[in-house]
């Protein structure tokens, strides 16, 4: 997984999965959606989205279908598979536990 400024390693995949869980989107839309929801807080090198998407394709967590974008370009639309949904739940649970534990240490130690 490529290293991204401002994002802990491995988080990008989770974010992509989360964004795709509400609707299928193409690459540019995924990037837009992440920026939008995070109030532009998470600044990623947008291109690093693509190696991450390849990884998700390899794992079988997302599926790609060729579509034509609103601007008339040939792009791929990514859609979450049932396995991807399971993975998302798993990662969210894991992330939540981790951040709670870290927060607990930060607050109480």
């Amino acid at each position: 997984m490529p290293r991204i400024d401002g994002l802990p390693p491995g988080t990008l995949a989770m974010l992509i999965l989360r964004v795709l869980s509400s609707q299928p989107l193409h690459g540019y839309a995924i990037a837009q959606r992440i920026l939008e929801v995070s109030s532009e807080e998470l600044s990623v090198e947008e291109g690093s989205l693509y190696p991450a998407l390849q990884k998700l394709l390899l794992k079988g967590w997302v599926k790609a279908t060729p579509v034509v974008s609103a601007t008339g370009r040939a792009v791929r639309e990514y859609r979450l598979t049932p396995a991807g949904r399971k993975q998302l739940d798993h990662e969210r649970a894991h992330y939540r536990r981790m951040s709670q534990a870290i927060a607990a240490v930060l607050d109480n130690a």
Binding site: E46, Y50, L58
Partner: protein, 858 residues
């Protein structure tokens, strides 16, 4: 799994996927207000492609190519290593093939482990009566199938020549339990046993092949047989199917079946298949109860039913021989491994420079280990493929020999003696272990040295560590030890075989051939008519073959039936003695020396004279005063109604002792003349001839046919071929001898390699010694010293191993103790000489060198 498929799918459609990626990345960039924030497109595309890659696999491919190239550049090492390992794999593969066919896959019946022989009484004439009506449903909780069968002799008289066939009448439960299959036509079915059903039969594979040329149209044809069991009425069977080639049955599971027909009359059952999970002890108890309820004449001390595992009985005799052979094979593999290990160690030392360069260029320990492992793996793979294919060929060629020497057909037919999937897997695992252990070897000690250290040394001289030296010596010692054990084993068996061949058994098996006449009882109303046939046949055969011919009622190389013999004047004090009935001229024909008196004559036989010939030992025990001729004795037979004495007989001759086997201690025998009344439909006869037995069969058949066209003659066979103890010993001798030879060859390679390496390594040292005035002789002694030490350690170790293992051979050696010091000393001396010779040869090179040239090269 899915990941692999997706990966493969990606690589198959790589161009399309990469195009799609390029397009969508370009589209993304174009839509961005600030394309700079997208990142480096080329790098990102590479990263995306890397996701689909298997880096280690690509590295593996490259390393494999490198390893193959390295091995090709060192043909000496590669060929020796592959050849030695291949020898090991051939020997182990062949042995596994035999063990697999005879022990593991024993008995080609489903659930053979649940089959049991049933014994109602100890061996002897008595058995409880009325058991054909035993109610098997009463024990159906323990016995799944009672396998009822009854053997019969079938005469096939239609066709070119008359022939006997082994018939077997069986119950329906028999075919249900054994699931008797058909290779042509159909198996027997339940309806074949119904009242009024067509009389049907399955034909045995041998009969089908030999008499009907494997013609599939035999199915549906009718055959007419006259059976000995129902002599008066010939039966006609419609053939519905053909049995598979490996179908054997019987007490030893080795009797061929020629015709299998439904059994319709109640018959006693001698085999059962127990239900899964039933213990034989429980089944014995339950069946004994059932027998008590049915049998009509059980004595009060009846011991009950005894069950014996069919499989155990079948493999019990073979297990020890195969054990010895397997141990030998295992030992060879160990030696092969040791040898290749020594070669690998030496090779690693020679490669230190190369390895140092690799390390200096950044190769990590893991990468080095992978390279070494791949080289070992390639060597093992090549050896495995060679070994497996050779083992396949060897087994195919040796199958008939192995079957003969082991004295029984392979349970699944000769075809079962082959390399099957399980052997490939077993050898594959073994090969993998060998490769793994060999690849770990070079890592012993410090294998990575500083480049400067290694390069700074003289050309061709690598540093040697103490660990390396000791490992090498230890491996060579192990090789010597194992070789000694095999040599001693081979030597002991060779001495046993020589001992057996030199042993005078009291008769001449080498010039005796045996065959048997079978007449049809219906054609001969009384014993006299049988006798007339045999007399006429014997005379004509003697003329036709120019050989002596004699009938006798018991074969050679089989323990004779016994009889209690008592002497006139001392009735009641019997001595146990073997006995045999024979025709005129028996002793001259069999080559049994007469110590006193005369042979049987035609008159003795014709008049049923009360005469007897006694063996030397028995005569000495019966009449210690030493004048047996003219004295009288009689045999007393044990019958159910008590001892029954025969007529008094006058001693007319004293014969040399004969033994029916090398371990046969029963040398007291009496010989009675065959009487006209003792002839029946079977007549075994012997020919004293040097002609090959097989060439006589036609003459014997023609002679018999001229008197009675319906007489049947067995193939003439050499009496010597019945000598199974000798054949078994020869089998072990060939096996152990061959294996010991291979081991010795390997030991020579190992010692030669080690010494040659030391000589090369110490070239400079030797040169200085020579320059300072040392004699070549003293230099040679220096090199030989190492070899003497490793060899001595090896020999000592070998003697210990041999002493421990020799008990395995205890029951096979003859005329020599299993721990014979002479054989051990001889083998040790031979091995020591060969070891020294293989060290002396390379050491000569070291001592004969020109000191100047060696020093200059430095």
């Amino acid at each position: 799994m899915g990941e692999w498929l997706r990966r493969a799918w990606y690589w198959l459609n790589r161009r399309r996927f990469e195009e799609a990626l390029r397009d969508e990345m370009a589209a993304h960039r174009d839509e961005m207000a600030e394309p700079r924030r997208f990142g480096n497109t080329l790098r990102l595309r590479d990263e995306a492609r890397d996701v689909w890659r298997l880096r280690w696999l690509e590295g593996l491919g490259r390393d494999t190519r490198v390893a193959a190239r390295v091995l090709r550049r060192q043909p000496g090492f590669t060929i020796t290593a592959v050849a030695s390992l291949a020898i090991g794999f051939v020997i182990v593969g062949t042995t596994l093939g035999v063990v697999n066919a005879y022990l593991l896959r024993a008995l080609p019946y489903p659930q053979a482990d649940r089959l049991y022989h049933v014994r109602y009484a100890p061996p002897g004439p008595w058995e409880p009566r009325g058991l054909s009506g035993l109610d098997w449903t009463a024990v159906q909780d323990v016995v799944e199938f009672p396998l009822t069968s009854s053997g019969d002799t079938f005469y096939l008289s239609d066709g070119a020549f008359a022939e006997t066939a082994r018939g077997l009448r069986v119950s329906h439960a028999f075919v249900e339990a054994l699931r008797v299959p058909a290779v042509a036509g159909r198996p027997l079915e339940a309806s074949d046993w119904q009242n009024g059903a067509d009389a049907v039969a399955m034909m045995g594979h041998r009969l089908w092949r030999d008499r009907y040329a494997s013609d599939p149209s035999v199915v549906g044809r009718h055959i007419r047989v006259e059976s000995e069991g129902r002599r008066d009425r010939p039966e006609t069977f419609r053939i519905v199917g053909v049995l598979p080639p490996g179908f054997y049955f019987g007490r030893d599971s080795s009797a061929r079946v020629d015709v299998l027909v439904p059994l319709t009359v109640p018959t006693r059952t001698y085999m059962v298949m127990l239900r899964a999970g039933t213990s034989p002890a429980l089944a014995e108890r339950r069946m004994s109860e059932a027998v008590r309820n049915t049998a009509s004449d059980l004595p009060s001390d009846w011991a009950g039913v005894v069950l014996e595992s069919v499989r155990e009985r079948y493999v019990a005799e073979l297990r020890p021989v195969l054990m010895v052979v397997s141990m030998g094979a295992g030992l060879v593999l160990l030696l092969v491994w040791t040898n290749v290990a020594v070669l690998t160690l030496l090779r690693t030392l020679r490669r230190q420079k190369e390895i140092a360069v690799r390390v200096a260029l950044g190769s990590g320990r893991a990468a080095l280990a992978r390279m070494l492992a791949l080289e070992a793996l390639l060597v093992c793979l090549a050896a495995l493929v060679t070994g497996l294919s050779l083992a396949h060929v060897v087994l195919g060629a040796l199958a008939p020999v192995i079957e003969r020497q082991l004295g029984r057909p392979a349970p699944g037919g000769s075809g079962a003696l082959s390399i099957d999937g399980s052997i490939v897997v077993a050898l594959g695992v073994l090969g993998g272990l060998v490769a793994l252990s060999l690849s770990l070897l070079p890592l012993i000690g410090r294998s990575q040295r500083r480049l400067g250290d290694v390069l700074g040394r003289e050309r061709g001289v690598a540093s040697d560590t103490r660990v390396m030296r000791h490992t090498r010596s230890a491996l060579v010692s192990v090789e010597v030890a194992g070789t000694l054990a095999l040599l001693v084993g081979g030597g002991l068996m060779l001495r046993s075989v020589t001992g057996m061949v030199r042993t005078d058994l009291g008769f001449d098996p080498q010039v005796l051939a045996r065959s048997r006449v079978i007449l049809r009882g219906a054609d001969y109303p009384d014993p006299q008519s049988f006798f007339r046939f045999y007399e006429q046949f014997g005379d004509r055969l003697a003329t036709a073959t120019a050989a002596r011919v004699v009938f006798a009622d018991w074969p050679f190389f089989a323990a004779r039936p016994t009889l209690s013999v008592e002497v006139d004047g001392r009735a009641g004090q019997g001595l146990t003695s073997g006995y045999l009935r024979a025709g005129p001229g028996f002793f001259a024909t069999a080559g049994i020396g007469l110590r006193a008196g005369r042979d049987f004559t035609r008159a003795d036989v014709q008049s049923d004279a009360p005469v007897v010939v006694v063996s030397e030992s028995l005569a000495a025990r019966l009449w210690p005063d030493g004048a047996p001729i003219g004295r009288r004795l009689r045999g007393v037979e044990q019958t159910p109604s008590g001892p029954t004495p025969g007529p008094w007989r006058t001693v007319i001759g004293v014969a040399a002792d004969t033994r029916q086997g090398y371990f046969d201690g029963q040398v007291g025998d009496v010989y009675f003349p065959l009487s006209p009344s003792s002839f029946g439909r079977f007549g075994s006869f012997y020919l004293r001839t040097t002609q090959p037995p097989a060439s006589l069969t036609a003459t014997v058949r023609a002679t018999a046919a001229a008197i009675d066209p319906r007489a049947m003659i067995d193939e003439v066979s050499a009496v010597a071929s019945q000598n199974q103890e000798l054949e078994g010993a020869e089998f072990l001798t060939t096996m152990l001898g061959g294996v010991a030879g291979a081991a010795m060859f390997l030991a020579v390679i190992g010692i030669y390699g080690v010494t040659a390496y030391t000589v090369q390594q110490r070239a400079r040292d030797t040169a200085i010694r020579l320059a300072l005035g040392a004699t070549p002789r003293s230099v040679r002694r220096l090199f030989l010293k190492d070899c003497v030490i490793t060899t001595s350690v090896g020999l000592l170790l070998g003697l210990l191993v041999t002493a421990a293992l020799s008990s395995l051979l205890e029951s096979w050696v003859y005329g020599v103790p299993a721990r014979d010091p002479g054989t051990m000393a001889l083998a040790a001396a031979l091995l020591a000489a060969i070891c020294l010779l293989s060290a002396w040869w390379p050491s000569r090179r070291g001592s004969n060198q020109n000191p100047m040239s060696a020093l200059k090269e430095g």
